[in-house]
């Protein structure tokens, strides 16, 4: 079964896998989570703003993104972003966008839909009296959100936000469809070069599994620590 399992292949590929692949994966995960959180919060605020049109636009965006497969969205942005770039910069031809920028834009736009639902739930979990009290103290809408509502919503939702980031970390492997060298892409390139699919894919599985497991264990600890006892 494992008679010709060759650990040497993995060890020789380690620098490539981690310096090239994992760096890409982690950078993409981190930046996309950050961007998704910012845009997601904005979308959640739009939905809860009380302006009907604004809320509806945000709602349609979220529903739209959430009903499409991520692979299709990756393809969409991969082909669309050069044209958008051309339109924005007024260039004569579709501009070329790097693999990293293209996938970062994709994941930010896609994750914003998911993060916005989490932030919406977080904002709605704040009792009505708090914004009312903030209002009574003379705080503007922006100040109420900035100092009263959002910090609490963020704190309440932190475990869910991190869980979503773990999902995002796993989903970044889908940039494979664009032949980008993320962690899985790097593993697959080595696998195909050396004809060592079994070793490389098993190793990739173990690495993803370990990181996700440790992270979700951390979330559970965090959840127990920051839970507000009511």
């Amino acid at each position: 079964m494992f008679s010709n399992f060759d650990f040497g292949v993995i060890i020789r590929a380690l620098p490539y896998l981690f310096y090239e692949g994992m760096t890409f994966t982690l950078m993409l995960t981190g930046l996309a989570a950050l961007g998704g959180l910012v845009f997601g919060t904005a979308i959640a605020l739009m939905r809860l703003s009380g302006y009907k049109t604004l809320g509806r636009i945000a709602g349609v965006y979220v529903d739209f993104m959430r009903s499409l497969p991520l692979v299709l969205v990756i393809f969409w942005f991969y082909f669309l972003v050069p044209y958008i770039g051309q339109w924005l910069t007024g260039a004569l031809r579709p501009i070329s966008v790097g693999a990293f920028a293209s996938s970062l834009i994709t994941f930010i736009m896609f994750e914003a839909a998911y993060f916005s639902e989490i932030m919406r739930a977080g904002i709605q979990s704040i009792s009505r009296g708090q914004p009312a009290a903030a209002n009574a103290l003379g705080l503007t809408y922006a100040q109420t959100m900035r100092y009263v509502v959002l910090p609490q919503a963020f704190r309440n939702m932190l475990p869910v936000l991190i869980t979503q980031t773990i999902v995002l970390f796993q989903d970044t492997s889908l940039v494979y469809v664009l032949s980008i060298t993320d962690f899985l892409g790097a593993a697959s390139k080595v696998a195909q070069r050396d004809g060592r699919l079994v070793e490389m894919y098993l190793f990739a599985a173990v690495v993803y599994f370990t990181i996700s497991c440790i992270a979700s264990f951390g979330v559970r600890r965090l959840q127990a620590r920051i839970a507000i006892i009511r």
Binding site: M1, F2, F64, S67, L68, P69, L70, V71, L72, F75, W76, F79, L80, Y83, Q86, W87, R93, Q170, D171, S173, L174, Y176, V177, L184, S188, L197, V198, Y201, L202, A204, A205, Y208, F209, S212, C213, S216
Partner: protein, 243 residues
């Protein structure tokens, strides 16, 4: 924008000789639905078993359920599909491995099984939460009436739990449909795959992806509507959603 739109492309014959480009996309849609339904059946069967195991008093069953869920939840679906498709045949005895590799429609079966097991972990968590949300008294009453553990689950707990978790199960089913697109990586020509090959043959990128997008939205709308009817039909009297 100097992109040449050509919406008539859908009615032009495709280079595979299987009718028009539209036929190509529709055959992709059918394959998406077939894969999703088979995967969903696998997910429901295994997810239910594992979900129940996680609520049993037996420590071993709980431990098994925990391992199952963690195993299938902490690896990207794409990696899991690769394990099923590329790694599993190599690890089996040679004759079985060769048989697996030569199976007709291997990408289809691999995708259905891989996505099914991947989703089973999520179904298990939902079911566990559903059973956990029932008042403790229900299980006790079942025991007091002399029902065995199996009967208690069969007649009391599960009929309630499944109806409570119907809304989250709907979104898990939608996720199953969306996840079939990942199978493009093992060569399954489902809807996204067909849109991609239409783009490669005809260079009409945006028409192909627009059509695929609309078809996904349509499937989504149909499933959501159907599930809303089902929810109303099986609603538990006395609950907020009940009659």
């Amino acid at each position: 924008m100097n992109y040449h739109w050509n919406w008539g492309i859908f009615f032009e014959p495709n280079p595979m000789g299987t009718g028009t480009y539209l036929d190509m996309l529709l055959s992709g849609l059918v394959l998406t639905l077939k894969t999703a339904v088979l995967a969903w059946i696998i997910a429901l069967v295994f997810g239910s078993i594992v979900g129940v195991m996680r609520t049993l008093p037996s420590k071993a069953a709980g431990w098994f359920g925990f391992c199952w869920v963690e195993f299938f939840r902490n690896m990207p679906l794409l990696v899991q599909l690769f394990l099923w498709y590329f790694v599993l045949p190599e690890l089996l005895p040679k004759s079985t491995g060769t048989w697996l590799k030569q199976l007709p429609n291997a990408p289809f079966w691999t995708a259905a099984i891989g996505i099914g097991f991947f989703m089973s972990a999520r179904v298990a968590i939902q079911l566990q939460a559903g059973i956990g949300s029932l008042p403790r008294g229900q299980k006790m009453a079942a025991t007091a009436l002399g029902l065995t553990t199996f009967q208690g689950y069969r007649y009391i707990l599960l009929p309630m739990a499944f109806r409570i978790i119907l809304p989250p199960l709907t979104s898990e089913f939608l996720n199953t449909i969306k996840n079939t697109a990942v199978a493009i990586t093992i060569g399954l020509l489902e809807l996204t795959g067909q849109a991609r090959s239409m783009q490669e043959f005809s260079f009409q990128v945006f028409e192909a992806f627009t059509a695929a997008t609309l078809l996904y939205l349509l499937v989504n709308a149909v499933v959501v509507t159907a599930m809303r009817f089902l929810e109303r039909w099986v609603a538990i009297p006395g609950y907020i959603t009940g009659k």
